[in-house]
């Protein structure tokens, strides 16, 4: 029988690469919407598989905040700033996804073996995917110069953490998930305000231009 959770988490890995690599901001945000929708489906499948009632609430809140609110907010920021394409990343548009992909795969290979040992749900592929998505997010910060792309990278690694949390600590107090999610939403809002300011100051979202404070 097909393990749907495995299939969906592999699709999530694919969407994380799309969020990372797509040059147009709107497409990148839509890829994030798709990934978060898949995350919600994983929560629902885990709920059915393990009868974990908490994950039903998680699925609902994640849908509301991350499938609806965050993408709409980011789209409005893109519209307000008036940008369409991302600035050149470190190593160029072709090389940077390859670097991110290879290193993320390597790091995820190391981490998931540890995580699967202690995880409440012993689903190996989802645990691997969680580490992979987290690392793609981290490499998004390192390799992408665009401020907006870095906000999306933050959203990516937050999705990786959210998936890890569901697999490894779903039965912790519900306020834990609420606290982490609230922080993430505020972080996206604050980073977006700073991105708008950044664009006004530098006439660009290219963070490699932010070199006034070195020394």
């Amino acid at each position: 029988m097909i393990n749907y959770i495995d299939v969906i988490t592999v699709l999530m890995m694919g969407t994380s690469l799309a969020v990372f690599g797509l040059r147009k901001y709107r497409l990148s945000i839509f890829a994030y919407v798709l990934q978060t929708l898949l995350l919600v489906i994983v929560f629902l499948l885990l709920y059915f598989k393990y009868d974990a009632h908490e994950l039903l609430v998680w699925a609902f809140t994640a849908f509301l905040m991350k499938v609806v609110f965050v993408p709409l907010f980011l789209l409005s920021v893109v519209k307000k700033i008036g940008v369409i394409n991302e600035d050149d990343p470190v190593g160029g548009f072709f090389i940077s996804p390859i670097i991110a992909l290879s290193f993320s795969l390597a790091v995820a290979m190391m981490f998931y073996k540890v995580f699967v040992h202690f995880s409440i749900f012993k689903d190996a592929l989802p645990l691997f995917a969680a580490s992979f998505i987290f690392m793609i997010g981290i490499f998004g910060f390192i390799l992408r110069n665009s401020f907006l792309k870095q906000i999306l990278a933050y959203c990516l690694f937050e999705n990786g953490i959210h998936l890890s949390l569901a697999l490894m600590a779903y039965n912790s107090h519900e306020l834990v998930e609420v606290g982490i999610l609230t922080d993430a939403i505020f972080a996206v809002v604050i980073m977006s305000i700073l991105a708008k300011r950044f664009y006004t100051s530098y006439d660009s979202l290219d963070t490699s231009k932010a070199i006034n404070l070195r020394g």
């Binding site: 540890v114 910060f141 107090h173 982490i180 505020f186 972080a187 700073l194 932010a210």
Partner: protein
């Protein structure tokens, strides 16, 4: 109502009240001071209960106050109050000079309370995931305390602050999740609670604990300014307004360090102290030498103090690395000593920037003649920072040497002495440059500040000297009890 719940609610209520106040500076100034006094009184009354031996728990034990938390809560209360009082003076100058609008001042005051509230929450969390969320919230609450203005430098500092701290703290969240999953079902009670995790630390898998500590070090170490993930700190501390830098350096870094210390305690009791001590020694030594190297090259007075913050986080890490009861005592003492000292240092840069209109020390000089009180306060901060006897930081640095000598770690004594010597030379050369000799640039405000304006700085200076020469019994009690918590004695 439980005092811990009041600690959580009151700063946020005050922040909201401030946010809706009319745009009248005198009113905002008085209200800011009064509400800061009320918050600090509340925090200190909770600390007082701990000193009296009362145990404070609330909300299903998810929040609590132990001696360890009480030390840091008292720093938020004392340093936070004095810096907030100074902030009213600093913002008045900024307003008069047209650097900032009245609405921005009001938002600054309002956010200060939210910031104090998130820091207080971070030190009273028994639930380690709440603690993580609170520490992340401190970043979010303080971004616009740093990026007050909308110019390039301010935006750049805000960007670096939120991005780098968020990345770093993500690793700490992984540490939290991994620790919970490693403990879930293996210990008595809720596996997210620090008290339960510490009590059953020996039941936890040692390999998992080691990985947890490395993740926690990366995460909380980034926020605390430990090398090599310290790079955000000089830009942020140098660019923000002086009171913000004082709060960030004097209090916030310590809150992140408390997060790390709680993980230190759990892991040390689970796998043995050797592992955590070696890791902290490496981290502390790296931090000390990286910061002292950059310290020598600095001419911007705030940037110099920012690198000092990194150096002193290195000292705390080094103290935790040397270990033993005395080493831990010294590390915790250093948190308080550095808090008062760095608050004074950054607040004095506010006075200095007003006098010279610049932060570049090569364009200063003759401060002792222009503003003798400010010069003396600046000197007290410098003397304490380099560990001159009679000042607070000397006590903790001396105790670290003592702990290393008692445990026969002579190489560590040598490394520590070398790092401190570099810092000593760098600091005094900068101090002499700014304070004595001829004025090298221009003087924009050729007078000493009023006593009322200097009052918070004088109070901090008195604290620095007091902690250098006296033993405050209640503070020593809290330190001793905290060492017992960490060592599970």
């Amino acid at each position: 109502m439980n005092i811990l719940l009041l600690i959580l609610i009151v700063p946020f209520v005050f922040g909201t009240i401030m946010f809706f106040m009319p745009l009248h500076f005198k009113l905002l100034q008085k209200l800011h001071i009064l509400m800061s006094l009320a918050v600090s009184a509340l925090l200190l009354s909770a600390v007082g209960k701990i000193v009296d031996g009362v145990e404070l728990f609330a909300f299903h034990n998810y929040i609590f106050l132990d001696s360890l938390g009480a030390i840091f809560l008292s720093l938020i209360a004392i340093t936070g109050l004095l810096v907030n009082i100074y902030a009213t003076t600093y913002m008045k100058w900024e307003l008069e000079d047209g650097h900032i609008s009245l609405k921005e001042v009001k938002n600054y005051f309002a956010l200060s309370f939210i910031f104090i509230g998130t820091m207080s929450l971070s030190v009273i969390c028994n639930n380690i995931a709440f603690m993580w969320a609170a520490i992340e919230a401190t970043t979010l609450a303080s971004v616009f305390l740093v990026a007050v203005k909308k110019d390039k430098n301010s935006t750049e500092s805000g960007y670096k602050y939120i991005v780098l701290c968020s990345i770093g703290l993500a690793f700490a969240l992984y540490a939290t999740i991994l620790l919970y999953s490693a403990a879930n079902g293996k210990i008595d009670g809720e596996a997210m609670l620090f008290t339960n995790l510490l009590a059953s630390a020996t039941s936890l898998d040692p390999m998992a604990l080691k990985l947890v500590f490395i993740f926690a070090l990366i995460g909380f170490g980034t926020k605390a300014g430990l090398a090599p993930t310290h790079t955000w700190l000089p830009d942020v501390h140098a660019e923000g307004p002086a009171p913000t830098s004082a709060l960030l350096s004097g209090v916030l870094l310590k809150c992140a360090m408390l997060g790390l210390i709680r993980y230190y305690a759990i892991v040390a009791n689970g796998v043995g102290f050797d592992f955590v001590q070696i890791v902290m020694i490496i981290s502390g030594t790296l931090t000390l030498f990286v910061s002292s190297f950059f310290l020598i090259r600095q001419h911007n007075v705030k940037r110099m103090f920012a690198y000092h913050s990194i150096a002193h986080m290195g000292v705390i890490a080094f103290g935790l690395g040397v270990g033993g009861a005395i080493g831990l005592f010294a590390a915790l003492f250093h948190c308080a000593a550095h808090s008062f000292t760095k608050a004074l240092a950054f607040c004095s840069t506010g006075n200095i920037a007003k006098i010279y209109g610049t932060k570049d020390m090569t364009k200063m000089g003759g401060m002792i003649h222009i503003a003798p009180v400010t010069a003396v306060l600046f000197g007290i901060a410098i003397c304490s920072l380099v560990g001159v006897p009679g000042f607070a930081i000397f006590v903790s640095e001396f105790l670290i040497f003592k702990a290393a000598a008692i445990s026969g770690q002579y190489l560590l004594m040598g490394i520590f002495a070398l790092a401190l010597a570099i810092i000593f030379i760098a600091d005094f050369s900068h101090f002499f440059l700014a304070t004595f000799g001829k004025v090298e640039g221009k003087v924009e405000y050729n007078s000493e500040m009023k006593f009322s304006e200097n009052f918070p700085l004088i109070a901090l200076a008195i604290l620095i000297v007091s902690f250098g020469v006296w033993q405050f019994d209640s503070f020593i009690f809290l330190l001793d009890e905290s060492v017992k918590i960490i060592m599970k004695r």
